[in-house]
Symmetry: D3
Subunit: 249 residues, 6 copies
């Protein structure tokens, strides 16, 4: 099965981190195809970055549909464009926040999210409410470091994340940690070892849940609001991304 893991930002090194993590958990027979967004921000750190990532995401799904993709992962913790992406395909589409939050709720009665920038905390809080996870999540915590600092070996990011996780366990009385950024996917083993509680990264959780859904022969419902978009012309710079262009009709 082919799973397209779409990094909705345009930084290829972050895609590499994501793909490495995804491949490490993929089942034999699962092909992980990492996609770096072709259009948008080098990192997604605010509502605007997130909203604009739909352009690259649309292109990635258009290409994915032509390549007979079996499932998609949107590998940014804000799950940008999730419902829009679902309209474009019969395949299942999972956001990494969604996958991680749901996985955490299977393993603990209370978890904390540890994310990067303070200003993205509200995005996680909105997702928790939309997904019905607000009673399972005890707190969203931010280390207030820019996303790309996760890749800077001179930053203190790892230690800051570890300390914030430890505070989550002691202060929030949480029993599991959800990592709030795709760029943290390589920290799972180290943090799990240190913290001795489930540490959940959405990229890997997304890959395994996508495998599960494909294994169940389940895909996005094409009845109701997630049916394919109605045919219509688009204008301006995104004219080529009109639904029928995406869908190859």
């Amino acid at each position: 099965m082919k799973i397209r893991v779409i990094n909705p930002n345009t930084t290829a090194t972050m895609t590499a981190t994501i793909v490495t993590a995804a491949k490490a958990v993929a089942s034999p027979g699962t092909e992980i195809i990492g996609i770096t967004s072709s259009a948008g921000a080098v990192s997604i750190e605010c509502h605007y970055d997130e909203a604009m990532s739909i352009v690259g995401l649309a292109e990635a799904i258009r290409d994915g549909e032509r390549d007979h993709t079996d499932a998609y992962i949107i590998a940014c913790f804000g799950d940008p464009g999730l419902l829009a992406a679902r309209e474009l395909t019969r395949a299942p589409v999972l956001g990494i926040a969604e996958a991680a939050m749901h996985a955490a709720s299977f393993l603990a009665t209370g978890f904390s999210v540890v994310t990067t920038l303070e200003r993205t905390r509200i995005i996680a809080e909105h997702l928790l409410r939309n997904y019905g996870m607000e009673h399972h999540c005890r707190r969203v915590r931010a280390i207030d470091l820019p996303v790309l600092e996760l890749e800077n070996p001179k930053s203190n990011a790892r230690q800051m994340i570890l300390q914030e996780c430890e505070r989550a366990l002691s202060e929030d009385k949480s029993a599991a940690i959800v990592l709030g950024c795709a760029g943290m996917a390589d920290l799972v083993d180290w943090l799990s070892e240190k913290l001795q509680v489930p540490v959940i990264d959405g990229v890997t959780a997304g890959v395994k849940f996508a495998e599960a859904l494909v294994g169940l022969k389940l895909g996005t419902s094409k009845r109701g609001d997630l049916a394919f978009p109605p045919h219509k012309p688009y204008k301006g710079m995104i004219a080529d991304l009109a639904p029928n262009s995406i869908l190859g009709k």
Copy 2:
């Protein structure tokens, strides 16, 4: 004061309907500037159309900032890109669903929303929850007609809307009606006359609430998650819409 009323779809005739309604309620001294989106769908009828409208919306706000706009209205009932738009400006930005729902809650303890397509009902339901209006709204109703049929004089749209409103009053026991599409802005007087309850269109409500906020010298908070987006490069077809390009820095 200059209020930019942005129609996030690319159909100029719908913008004309919207602008006519907006001008009819604007105070002396308020200049209404109607903007038809330069990029995106001819009508917004699904999650994908909505998500993609961010491109034209970003352009409209970029232009608006250069023109010293005092307030913005996003004139599509899904309030697409609302938080993203707020990041881009110190001016207040209002969505028409938001404005209409809040206005209705000032006038009745229970209202119904009457919208066009069945598949957009879920969008209104998500907004109600995000805005805290789910207990004030008794039901979202759809006439299941495409948006542009509102402009087709041969369609039966007006009668269908009236009948759905009447059902809302009798079946939902609602005491006010929120019109669920910017393209219905010209129906307010006729429906109010027929129904004898407050009928609220978000375009006009948005204009008046925007005037109110400007009159209070209040604008979007630039502290926290609605602060201007962090500076960073964008790539691909939307490279020119990177935050600093929008902000003219």
Copy 3:
């Protein structure tokens, strides 16, 4: 247009503060009529003070109806008698807590309320829930000073309010402040300057939203539970305040 701003307590100096603030934001053509309650408490600081204020409020609306009032503001942060008042008139009636909370939700994803007495905090919390604003408000804070101390130049009220606002920004991560007492209406400019975030006073927000609703030709729905009260005799000391007496029938 005539807007009656009703101070539901009996302290005329507080009415003066309120009216000054209201007039400062009123549009040309708007007449602000300040009313000091004729019956009830010198300040409203508990459930009982609030409940009893209905008597003076009823008298104020009776007089207002005879004077062809276009809109009413209830200028006490507990919004006492709001639904009762709405039954008595076709005009819109706004509470100042309601107006301020809704305005804040247009400008920030999270706000804090700063009020006077600790014991009135619960009243604000109940309103937040009734208005659907509990997810937008991060915390209600009290400086625990009696209401009338706001008018005492020797009290330290201003500084205490400023400090509590600063704590709201840093501890609650709020991005806007709602002032929790009509008597704080004169502090908006000073606090806005100091805090550099939107500071919202319900008196002024109420006036501008009332102007907006009147400009939209919208009034309280007279269908359903806000219809005029059924005709019936009242007994005892409030016999003269039976619905038909109020309504001049």
Copy 4:
């Protein structure tokens, strides 16, 4: 022990019905003192009637405090003035809607409320939310008959109530009925017999819960927002109802 059952409307015949029901369930040693409101509406059928009932309620509690009352029941299904009344006394104060809803939640996982006027349905719905009972109540139903018709032997009230209860059982799948008006207190036995499910009247439930609280030596907390009201002058027609007058200080 002395329990004061306060009918907040001014109709003595309704008080008689209430008192008869209350006495029928009172324990030996419990004295039921029925009070007809001295000021306000002959029946409470809207927000305004309800708000105004505070005047008579204050007088009733003033008299009750002088008479060393052990507990109070507010015998109108809207529970008007409940928190205000609690401030005035150390004794427990129960509203009949509150008592009935809580009792129902002890006996069934889902109940329906059957009330009189359609326009008071919203009042019951607000109470359900305030009391945390909205998930236990499946629906509030109204027979849309004025309150005083319950006392009119020529009205069809009894049959209408029975039929509405039957619909509640079959359509709402409810397993218990809460009667939504103090004036229905005499119908409990007849309806219970007919329906073969728990039928709960708030007057009797209130009396028994009040006995329970007194038996536990529990009263209204005098810490926090239910502490006695701060001393202050009142003006106008209700000057004599200032807190200290009520409290006999």
Copy 5:
């Protein structure tokens, strides 16, 4: 009337504490029958202990039905097996957490729960949500001491509970305390005296509310999901606890 107070753990000394408290508040004519569980854990301190207590509870209700019991109290703060027990009898069945939480909501607008082990806090939090009490409870606090230490005169349990209650009043701004363990039933008077706020123990609250319901001739609804269990065989070690064996059919 006969009230069976079932201690779902197997420690008879704790039953003695519970029965003493129950008898102290019971009305003349009420017979308190204390039952120590015949099967299960010596103390209930986790989800597993709680779930397993159903076996002893079923036996206790079987015996109770043969003895014509008028009401049952489940005297463990997790209210284990509450809905299952209700299916087995026409009598009312009350959990002590349920009784205490509801009683507290009658006396204060905000209360705190003070319980024993940290790990049982989540159980109380789940109950609060199920009962609709999450807005009335400001916080659940744990002293993190094993349940049976309450009976150990050398433990510091009393002082730890007192201090946690004091923190609840000052930090949570609560106005009443709910004791979170049946084994604390003997502390009510001492804590009430010290704290000067209502201190509510569920055992005594349960007894008085049960008397109230019996006095109202109300019992568990036998319509819908609390009707007697369908007849069917049970296998294995609990074959003798099949519904019909319990019900004596």
Copy 6:
């Protein structure tokens, strides 16, 4: 990997249906071990049946731990004993209602549950709330047929289920179906074909999600309330099921 699929009722033919479904979706390398409960009801159709199933469930997990089980599925739609079971093992434990509801939320914005007996509807509704799925589920529907009728070839169960699913799509506007009983696991393909929307059975969803969690090296958190139960003696018929006996200590 070994997955133990525990049928908490004692009917081996139902276990066979469950195991057939589980094996059909299991990955190569996954061993499905079907367990029929050794103690309890032949079918689980009420709160009591459900609560009592803990005995057989405890035995099944005891045996499973000795057999080095990698994950457990509780194959009854009420998810009985879920948190208790989680305490007993480091392996992940999934309930089939939980697995199915979460899977449905990945594929549609609104689903309906179709279950057997009307009286178990409330159990599904409680789970929806506990799992945060109440906004994703539009309605729980029951065909009101006993569970074991699903196995009776003469019953009309299949057609009744199909018709109820069709009503869910047309009346509830749902876009996916969750099957509300383990005994329906063999109907997925047939219903999917007929309905053309995702039809989700919890047994198979549970198996695939369990594989996913094991593949992620994630298990139940042993910190907080899901840590192993405290050691203590148990008495009576379940003395051998004390935590340490289960855990083999």
